[in-house]
Amino acid sequence: MSTASNAATNESSGELKIVKDATCTFCGCVCDDIDLKVEGHTITEAKRACILGKAWFLNHELEEGPSCLIEGQAATVDAGIERAAQILCDAKYPQVYGLSDSPCEAQRKAVGVADWIGGTIDTTTSVCHGPSGMAFQGVGEVTCTLGEVMNRGDMIMFWGSNPAESHPRHFTKYSLMPKGLFTPNGRKDRTCVIVDVRKTKSAKAADIFIQIKPRKDFEALWTLRALARDIELDGDWVERETGTPLSTWQDLMDRMKACKFGAIFFGMGLTMTRGKHANSEALLALTRDMNAHTRFVAKPNRGHGNVTGADNVVSWRTGYPFGVNLTRGYPRFNPGEYTTSDTLARGEADAALIIASDPMANFSQAAREHLASIPFIALDPKETPTTRAAAVAFKVATYGINSPGTVYRMDDVPIPLRPAFDSPHPSDFDVLSKLERRVKEIKAATF
């Protein structure tokens, strides 16, 4: 697979081209119905895209400068591959991290690199819905596709999630507005409930908005679990702990039991707050409980375009979705030990390969300081604080706009990319394929 060789080429002429059903990879909705108007190397229109999708497509421009920098100096891609391979093969405890903005084909290569160098592979899931991934293993997941929600869902809940700003087409394309087989009147056939600690922009879409106390999601979810089983609760305790009267929770539970098909979409309001995986576990267990009364499902609202693909690919290759150590030649999974925030903040990793993510801007200060002190390689379409600090930085083609591949929507449905035009820069698949080949050669020679 290389860059967009199958896209009609009109770059030099600058003539108009229409790309039908292009896939937006900005967020986990991965909307694949975007019509792009392309003039040369500029996308001038992105029909049906949301505000985030328009910013994604319309601000895209071919990045100038070399495709590779070694210690800040321009270098050939091959020289960069050689230096990167040496860094990773010399390391004793290398960390491979990122992947949520790369296609599955490139993610697969990154797992191969981690395997050959005996490193640890982790994705941005660990600082996103990683706690939910732990919860899936703990209590299971009653789930479905977004198509089922569209066709059947009559009770749509959002907990700790603000799709109006993070997934702007969630309401209109998948969950609230569309007319489905058993929801022929669209929005009129649905009740929307939003639970959050603040009245977000999404709250305007809700029939029922419940504002709970910060850091009390666990208590609120267990209140609902108790009510699902008709367990009597102390009203004073419930209101004191959750900030919401017991009568409100009882009314919500009555509605949940009475619906035909309920769906709870949950966000990082649960996973990033005190309780973390225990919060997600409580929500997933509540969903499971509700199936004694009616049909209920739960889905995490995933952020990055292919973070769901990263979970899938790392699971295919290692048996675990993130935070996987391969040092002993077989996979070991342990969030908190093999997750990147931890291996960096504790000063354990002695080299890193960072793909399509920006830990130098988003990690704790201790993790950033350690990352800055070790040699690392970064792949990104744009300049970021992470690429600026990298020993070897590759500027890569933008997936979905310049390079093809497969991504997974937040409901685990694979979606093909339909790129608009070629990039002069290699794709991350190209770079990681060469890197995997080179580390394999080095390791084979020293075995």
Binding site: V127, N162, Q211, P214
Partner: protein, 114 residues
């Protein structure tokens, strides 16, 4: 004189658009450097839009400009800031065995910068 608040970092559409425009561009930087405060707290602390405040906790400290949150979006005692470099500087490294640092619902001390 400082006062304790609960800080909620989160996504905003301006921050999301800013990522596509470039993390070093003004729009993104302005968004991640602006703190939303409940109007009641703004009035009580005699803050006006554009004032700078210092947020600190045992992990670190940052200085940001304040803006009044839109009506009812934030209850008193709660602060909101778009995710980014600054909010992460207040995030402790400990993940409590989960891989995820506590990134929302952090206790912070707010103090006006004079």
């Amino acid at each position: 004189m400082s006062e304790t608040f609960i800080l909620i970092p989160g996504r905003t559409s301006k921050q999301g658009c800013g990522i596509s425009e470039g993390k070093f561009e003004e729009k993104y930087q302005r968004e991640i450097n602006t703190l939303q405060v409940a109007p009641e707290d703004m009035e009580r602390l005699e803050l006006v839009t554009g004032d700078r405040v210092r947020l600190s906790n045992e992990t670190g400290q940052i200085e940001v400009a304040v803006i009044a949150a839109k009506k009812d979006e934030l209850p008193p005692g709660l602060l909101f800031i778009a995710y980014g470099d600054l909010s992460s500087r207040l995030m402790a490294a400990d993940t409590h065995g989960s891989g995820m640092p506590t990134s929302k619902g952090m206790d912070v001390e707010l103090e006006k910068v004079v």
